[in-house]
């Protein structure tokens, strides 16, 4: 069984694939192009103007497509789980949540009146706690299943419970890997139409706006991600059931999914149309 020394050795072995003072022909060629650019620009006087005109035309077309898309989605209130062609790019909210700031009161990000397919979302944090505690619990270890390698059996991932909602629209992970510390929960909706915070300037990766999480007891909307946040999971949290781990609870219903820190009442309820934070 490998240990950390083997990992360091593997990194050292990889390093040695690049000999000392190696000069990459790929980099040399790219550098030559880069350093030659100013001169080429000087000899192609009209090209930047043409390129700018083409860019402007493309921007106008993109804007028109966006306007049409937004106007189509304004009447889309399909319930969670119903197939939809809604694109992931959301309309920009005028009152976004701030990434990383705790939610001191309830806040709703919605593309319409926040009605959760007949079932009303809890109004307060204490209602949210009661709501989540009112459902039958599933066994957490059934949801701690890691990604198998090719030809391998599933391997448990103690402390990381992942699940999908029955519709498949929302994937969550409850992460409890710090002994004694509060667990975190993160959920991402694949398709949604609620308003989200704009990408912050500090985010150099992709901005996953349809992302709610409770981390260190604080609720945040939107995440800066550089890759898949979740392992592929086939585990489903059935409607009418809840999962609880290290003080975090989530309840799945056809109307919406709700997750909360059960000691503070901070959390969120989310479906396709609405994200409500507490």
């Amino acid at each position: 069984m490998p240990d950390l020394r083997d990992l360091h050795n593997e990194f050292a072995r990889l390093e040695q694939e690049i000999p000392e003072y190696y000069r990459s022909p790929v980099i040399a060629e790219r550098m030559a192009q880069i350093l030659d650019q100013p001169r080429r620009r000087a000899h192609t006087g009209r090209r930047p103007t043409i390129a700018m005109a083409l860019l402007a035309a493309a921007a106008v077309v993109a804007l028109a497509v966006a306007v049409v898309s937004i106007s189509r989605r304004s009447g889309d209130h399909a319930p969670v789980g119903q197939n939809s062609t809604a694109i992931k790019s959301p309309p920009i909210s005028n009152s976004p949540s701030t990434q990383g700031s705790p939610s001191q009161s309830t806040s709703t990000h919605s593309s319409s009146t926040p009605k959760a397919n007949g079932a009303a979302m809890p109004q307060t944090g204490s209602e949210l706690i009661s709501y989540i505690q009112g459902a039958a619990l599933v066994k957490v270890s059934d949801y701690e299943q890691g990604e198998p390698g090719p030809g391998q059996a599933m391997r448990p991932t103690p402390g990381i419970a992942e699940f999908n909602t029955p519709s498949g629209n929302i994937t969550c992970a409850i992460v409890d890997i710090e002994p004694g510390g509060p667990a975190d929960v993160q959920c991402e909706a694949q398709q949604a139409s609620f308003h989200i915070p704009p990408k912050p300037a500090s985010c150099q990766n992709d901005w996953a706006g349809y992302f709610g999480f409770i981390e260190q007891r604080e609720v945040t909307v939107g995440a800066c991600v550089g890759g898949p946040e979740f392992g592929p999971t086939t585990q489903v949290l059935p409607y009418g059931s809840a999962i609880r781990q290290a003080g975090i609870g989530c309840r799945s219903e056809s109307g919406f999914l709700a997750c909360a820190d059960l000691s503070t009442g901070h959390g969120f309820a989310v479906n396709r149309d609405t994200l409500k934070t507490y």
């Binding site: 880069i34 975190d184 990766n205 995440a223 800066c224 550089g226 890759g227």
Partner: protein, 167 residues
């Protein structure tokens, strides 16, 4: 004599190329991909040379760009590309246990999602703590810890036993 932007940049590339390529190959595990990634990043470095030149830790700044480029490259293209190492992983090596372990570890590393691998490299190769990695990758410290745990799990390394002294 005052150096031009191009002169300064060329000097930087000449002095840092080996180190960047080595970091790149540890990040991505493939020498040729590392050359492409470093070339891409150097092009960006040249575009924003004034920022890079003014940075307190110029090399760290560029390595951060490289780590981000590697991770975002995966976001855009990773799912479209097949795992090139599957054949290597499924082969049964008729070797000693030590070599088999090394090959197995190398194959497991190649299969890791790139953000997980970047986190492992930044932690165990660059020596950065979780908070600093979160800053480098523009994600949350909880995500970094989650990736560390998942990555070591995938490599079958017992993190709690082996990393007891790590903060």
């Amino acid at each position: 004599m005052t150096l031009t932007k191009a002169d300064e940049f060329a000097e930087f590339v000449a002095s840092q190329q080996t180190a960047l390529l080595r970091f790149g190959v540890v990040l991505c595990g493939d020498r040729y991909l590392a050359e492409e990634l470093v070339a891409d990043v150097l092009a960006k470095v040249y575009e924003r040379w004034s920022d890079v030149a003014a940075a307190d830790h110029r090399n760290a700044y560029v390595r951060r760009m490289l780590a981000n480029h590697y991770v975002s490259w995966q976001r855009k293209w990773g799912r479209l590309l097949p795992h090139v190492d599957d054949a290597l992983d499924t082969a049964v090596p008729d070797r000693t246990g030590e070599h088999a372990d090394r090959d197995s570890l190398a194959a497991s590393l190649r299969r890791l999602p790139r953000q997980q691998r970047a986190v492992l490299v930044l932690h165990f190769y660059e020596g950065l703590p979780a908070d600093a990695i979160a800053e480098v990758l523009g994600c949350r410290a909880g995500t970094v810890r989650s990736h560390l745990s998942r990555g070591l799990e995938a490599l079958r390394i017992d993190y709690t036993r082996q990393e007891a002294t790590d903060a």
